[in-house]
């Protein structure tokens, strides 16, 4: 079974600076998807970015980018120019392409932005 590990329960960063959240996963599959979700205090789960395992190029979405290292099974999220609205829990998730497209989540990292 696949597992996802986020080793940083909490992180903090100064506003306007850059922060990187770590995620590692374990799988024997060669094709899969990886995601980062954001959960602000409102509790809503918001998709931040996705990465397809067969693509070499790292995904980017505005100030959010990933560093995908397939051989190392690592998938970190970089947030540039941090803003107060980025404060949230961030979850890394793995999705198999087999069957019912189930997600496996990491435990989450709570990100605090210091003004």
């Amino acid at each position: 079974a696949q597992t996802v590990t986020q080793s940083q329960p909490e992180m903090s960063v100064q506003e306007a600076e850059t922060v990187t959240l770590s995620c590692t996963y374990d799988t024997s599959e060669s094709d899969y998807y990886l995601f980062w979700y954001k959960q602000p205090p409102s509790r809503q789960m918001i998709l931040v970015i996705r990465q397809e395992a067969y693509k070499q190029q790292n995904a980017t979405e505005n100030r959010f980018s990933v560093n995908f290292q397939k051989a190392a099974k690592s998938f970190s999220l970089k947030i540039s120019d941090s803003q107060l609205g980025d404060a949230a829990m961030y979850f890394c998730a793995y999705c198999t392409v087999q069957g019912a497209q189930k997600l496996v989540f990491g435990q989450g990292t709570r990100l605090t932005i210091n003004p």
Binding site: Y33, M45, R50, K102, L103, F105, Q107
Partner: protein
């Protein structure tokens, strides 16, 4: 935003009572999922559905049952609620071949 709603949004119930949570989508997506969120555990899959009347167990299915009689509705039932089922419950939907899941607003359930 994906058209997905959950009801109720908050519920307090007593141990031993039955509880049903409803998830409704307007996206006509094939896949629907129920998760629970607890501190230190992230989100864990309870049950999922891959079509009308087609459901299967997830990682933490004990004490829960589900039903899907229409594409748009996915019900989660706690037959006899226990305090260990106090949690926040999320429904999610996904289209075939798109892989990302879109989440409802969540239901906070407290079992006293």
């Amino acid at each position: 935003d994906a058209g997905i709603t959950q009801s109720p949004r908050h519920k307090v119930t007593e141990t031993g009572t039955p509880v049903t949570l409803r998830c409704h989508q307007t996206e006509n997506h094939r896949y629907m999922y129920w998760y629970r969120q607890d501190p230190g555990h992230g989100l864990r899959l309870i049950h999922y559905s891959y079509g009308v009347k087609d459901t299967d167990k997830g990682e933490v299915s004990d004490g829960y049952s589900v039903s899907r009689s229409k594409t748009e509705d996915f019900l989660l039932t706690l037959e006899s609620a226990t305090s260990s089922q106090t949690s926040v419950y999320f429904c999610a939907i996904s289209g075939t071949g798109t892989y990302e899941q879109y989440f409802g607003p969540g239901t906070r359930l407290t079992v006293t």
